[in-house]
Structure formats: structure tokens, C-alpha cells
Amino acid sequence: MRLIKRLLPAFSMAVASAAYPVEWSGNLAVEVRTFPSTAQWPEQKDNGLSLSFQPELRHRWNDGDQAFTFIPFVRVDSMDEERTHADIRELKYLHVADGWEVRAGIDKVFWGVTESQHLVDIVNQTDLIENIDGEDKLGQPMVRVTRVLEDGAIDLFLLPWFRERTFPGAEGRLRTPLVVDTDQARYESDAEQKHLDYALRWNQTIGAVDAALSWFDGTARDPELLPGTKGSESILIPYYPQLRQAGLEFQYTGEAWLWKLEAVHRDTEQEDYRAAVGGFEYTFVGIHDTPLDLGVLSEYHYDSRRLAANSPLQDDLFIGTRLTFNDTQSSEVLAGGIFDLDHAGKSFRVEASRRIGQSYKLSLEGQLFSDIASHDPLAAFAADDFIRIELTRYF
């Protein structure tokens, strides 16, 4: 009898999971980063080995109208103790009803169309110590209600808890001259991290055009960095003001042309400004009767604050190329440069990836900073050219 009592929960769980199978997937990656130039600050290291693990658990029932998702993430890094970190990328419940979708929990969303900067994307905080490209995000607690329209949708986001941006530690590269002390973060709002932010977004497809309008009111994701001290040490303190952002996303899709635009109007206690990024991508299909596709991309970056902007992309031109091999291994290369038209600064980036066998992927990333002036916001990175190689096992 005691045995039955002990076995019963296990048995009922087995039955439940047979009826509604729990899906496991995810990835495990080993990453090597090497910085060939001598560091600007003495504590910084030149090489790092890093291991990351992201299991994904999914459970769907009711024909997919209800679902539960759990995606934790952990990284262990040999170079920078701040980069050793864990996060819950997703932990959410989804309910789909006729024309409505509700998501509650920790989730991730992406807004935007352009390639060289994600200007409009504001819901999730950037996990900056992962990569400077701003594409890694921290999980955001939210309630999201979606009204599905014919060829579009309206989303309402309630964001009850703020996530602070991650920053490299003293030993890390790609950091500010003084280390950012995230423990001393300050807020404009007295509610600090508990400030209830909200956002709205309407997206619609009209023929060849995909467009979206969005509104965000809450704590800015991108902090100002103020001078401060930690004991006797000079450090930087992140200050998060309140921000209102109106955003526009636009893409025209032709047969070979893509025309893209992202624009924002941002309003804080300190400043009121506009920024935009726009450009095109043209794809040559099957060049020289091979399966290769070659894309040519260019995007211009504008910020109405110009040189007073804390953004490095205030008057910059991005030119890039995308090579898609269309082979069994899905090999691809994206290479480009960003040219600062105010400063002389240039930065170049190459991203390449290729599948190995059925479940591995090898990625390579290279970044080069060149002619960076001392007053350029990128000056802190001037000696931080790097090569990053990552081998990922997917399961």
C-alpha cells in the first residue's frame, strides 16, 4: 500500500505526460574569445573560454491553445566574473482564444526590421555582457494581450518589473574606462524596479508593406552612466530615467529589394530627441548559375542630438554584404562596416556560420575598430578588436 502511494504520483505524471508530451530541446555551447590588441586598462584579460547552456521545456495542450514554456540560461566564463551569469529567458503561460492571445510570465519579444541597429526594440533589456550587438536579451516579466487582426495584430504589454542592463566587470573587455557598478543603480522613479511600464504596438501588412506603430512609457532600458565611487574606487553608476518612446517600423518588400525604416521619438526629463535608421537590402539570386545568393545592404543612422548623443550611431553609414550558400550545411556569411560620418571612426564586423553534421553549428565572429577618435563614444573599445568562435550542440 505504501509502495502504491509512493508510485501513484509518479504514475499519474507519466500518464499526464503521455497525453500531453513535454518537449525538451535546447543547446550547449563552448565559446572562445580572443582580443589580439593590448588592453587599455591593466585588469583586462586577453583570452576567455566560456560555456553556456540553454535548455528549453515546452508543454502544449488543448490543441496548442494553451502552452507553458520554460527557458533558463546559464553562462560560465573564465575571463570576466560578471559574464558568469544566469537568467530566465522565458517562463510563461500562453492562452489562445478566438482572435485573442494572452501571455503571462517572463517572455521575450522583438520589434524591428533593420539589420545594423535595433532602435525601436525596447521591451526586453539587453544582456550586454553576452554580446555588444544588442541581440541578446534578458527575460522580461510581462502580461501581454494580443488582438489578432486580419493581416495584423494589436499588442498591449504590462511590464511590472524592470530588468537592469548587464555590464562587463573589471577584467572584461568591451567595457567603459571605469567599471559600471550595477549594485548602485539609480532610478528617476521612486518605485525603482517596481515601476509599472506599459507598451502598445499595432502591426499590419498592406500588400508589399509591413508596418508597425508602437508606444512605450516606462523606465528607459538604456541608462545614463554617472560618475560615482565604491569605497575609494571611481566607478560609474547606471541611472535609469523615465522614458516615453513613439516608434515606427516600415518595410517594403519587392522581388529583390527590401526597403526598411525604423524611427523613434524619445522624451525624458533631460532631453527630447529623434533617431532613425533606414536603408535597403538587394539580393542577387543564384549568382553565376550557382545556388549562391548575394545580398548587398546599406543603412544610414541618424540621431537628432548628433555629437551630444551617447549613442555611437548618430550620423553613420552601414554597408554590408550577405552571402547565403544554400548548401546542406546552411553556410552563410554576413560582413559589413559602419562608417562614422562625423568622426573618422570605422568598425567592421564579420559573422559566419555553418552546420556540422546533424546537430552541431560552428559560428565565427570578428570585430575590428579602426580610426576611433578619443571623443567618439566607441573610444573605450578602440583596443578591443576580437575574434569569437562558438561551437554549439543543439538537442
Partner: protein, 260 residues
């Protein structure tokens, strides 16, 4: 004399409609009949395993779940959800095909949670590195080709086939022409030969293992051989279901993120 002419005249009058049917008209008539024979299924879901083999025989596998919605007076809407290889798991592709007009296509990239509208020109490019081009797997609307009836002949298994030449009428096709074999009883595709832009016989596609699902016939297997590279791709189909109650709301770019 007159009495002999009358039957000849009658014969001429009656045979005129038959003689007037040019090979082009007959090809189009049969393509339309085949299209009618396979319409009215409303929506369809199926699982696909794609097996890629190179000349040395090494193998690579993709698993894709597909959903298709029949659209009246336009091309179908299609959804492909990728399960394998593991690095693309969760990727989803939504296609609204429009016959001669360019298709609308969106791709969902799960790592970034990004829905990307993609350019539709790439019809001749390989699908997932396979020997199937996007245009081979797209919705086969009657208006996408010009037709020419070639002949009727035996085509294996005791079947007789219409042999029809079809020339792509849409832009950016990788083919100068295709020769297709359709069985005369149920208009099931049996074989297609693909000729590249230079006129060389590039690929041959063969259907195997037809089963009937209510009114409709579907093959278990499609085999594409590339004659120039020696590479081949097999598609194995299973779990065909029709009329599952899908609607246009299931084929919305905003739904791509929650399909997995």
C-alpha cells in the same frame, strides 16, 4: 456526286471541334481538370521527412510539419514548421502564393523571436539545401504555366498517363520547360522532368505510394534526382489530414511565434 458530298460535309462539321483543339488547348484543359479533381479539400496538414543524399551517399535529414489552406480565386496559404535539424527547430515559414504575382513570404527566427518578411524572387533557389527548389514545392496554380499536350502513354503499374509539356509563365523560374506525366484516371502526378534555362535535363521527380484520403490522392514519397550533380532528395509524407478546421487566422504572421 452531291449525295456523296453530304456525308463528307457532315463528317467535317462534326469533327471540327476536335480538330480545333490544339495541343496547347488540350494541355490546358487537362491541367484545369487535374486542378478541379484536387480541389475542395479546404485545409490539409501533413508531416514531411526530407532526406538529402550527396553523390558519396552521405545523408542529411530535415523534419517539417506543413499546414495548407485552400484559397478560392488565389494561390494557397502555406505554413512550414521546422523540427530538424535541431539548430533550426522552431523556425517557421508562412507563404501566401498568388499564381503569376510574386508570393508573400515571412520567416520566423526563434532565437531572436523575429518575424522577417523576405523577398520572393528566390524561386529557383534550393529549399533547405535540398534538390527541391522553392518553385517545385510551391502551390501549383494552373495559371503559372503554359501547356502543350504531347501524347498519352503507359506509365508503369498498369497506369496510362497524359504527357504534357509546361513552360513557366512566372518570372525568375530556373527552368526553360518541364515535362509532366499525369495519370489519365485520377490526374495524379507521376513524374516531372525539369529542364534548366539552357535546355539541359536537370532533374527528375517521381511520386510513389499513392493512397486515397476520402476524395483525394496523396503520395507517400517523392523522389528528386539531380542528373547534373548526382545528388538526390527524398520526401517521405505521413499523417495527412484534411478539413481540420484551419482558418486564415492560423496563417497570420503573428501566429508564427506560437506554433511550436
Amino acid at each position: 456526286m452531291k449525295r456523296r458530298l453530304v456525308p463528307i460535309l457532315i463528317l467535317l462539321v462534326f469533327s471540327t471541334p476536335l480538330m480545333a483543339e490544339t495541343p496547347e488547348k488540350k494541355g490546358l484543359r487537362i491541367a484545369k481538370a487535374a486542378d478541379r479533381r484536387d480541389s475542395g479539400w479546404k485545409d490539409q496538414t501533413a508531416d514531411m521527412i526530407m532526406i538529402l543524399r550527396n553523390r558519396r551517399g552521405s545523408k542529411s535529414v530535415r523534419k517539417i510539419r506543413t499546414k495548407t489552406l485552400e484559397v478560392r480565386n488565389d494561390g494557397d496559404k502555406g505554413l512550414s514548421l521546422f523540427d530538424e535539424p535541431a539548430d533550426v527547430k522552431g523556425t517557421a515559414m508562412l507563404t501566401f502564393s498568388h499564381g503569376l504575382q510574386p508570393d508573400d513570404q515571412w520567416l520566423y527566427l526563434p532565437a531572436l523571436k523575429r518575424v522577417k518578411r523576405i523577398a520572393s524572387r528566390n524561386k529557383s533557389g534550393p529549399f533547405m539545401g535540398s534538390e527541391f527548389a522553392f518553385e517545385d514545392l510551391g502551390s501549383q496554380e494552373v495559371g503559372k504555366y503554359r501547356y502543350k499536350y504531347l501524347r498519352e502513354e503507359a506509365c508503369g503499374g498498369g497506369w496510362r498517363c497524359h504527357v504534357i509539356e509546361r513552360t513557366p509563365a512566372y518570372k525568375y523560374s530556373g527552368y526553360s520547360r518541364q515535362i509532366s506525366w499525369l495519370d489519365t484516371r485520377e490526374y495524379r502526378p507521376v513524374k516531372v522532368e525539369y529542364y534548366d534555362r539552357k535546355g539541359a535535363h536537370l532533374k527528375t521527380l517521381k511520386w510513389k505510394g499513392y493512397k486515397s484520403y476520402g476524395n483525394y490522392w496523396r503520395a507517400d514519397e517523392m523522389f528528386m534526382q539531380n542528373h547534373l550533380t548526382g545528388k538526390a532528395t527524398t520526401l517521405k509524407w505521413s499523417n495527412y489530414r484534411f478539413g481540420t478546421g484551419l482558418g486564415s487566422g492560423d496563417f497570420n504572421k503573428n501566429a508564427l511565434a506560437r506554433l511550436r
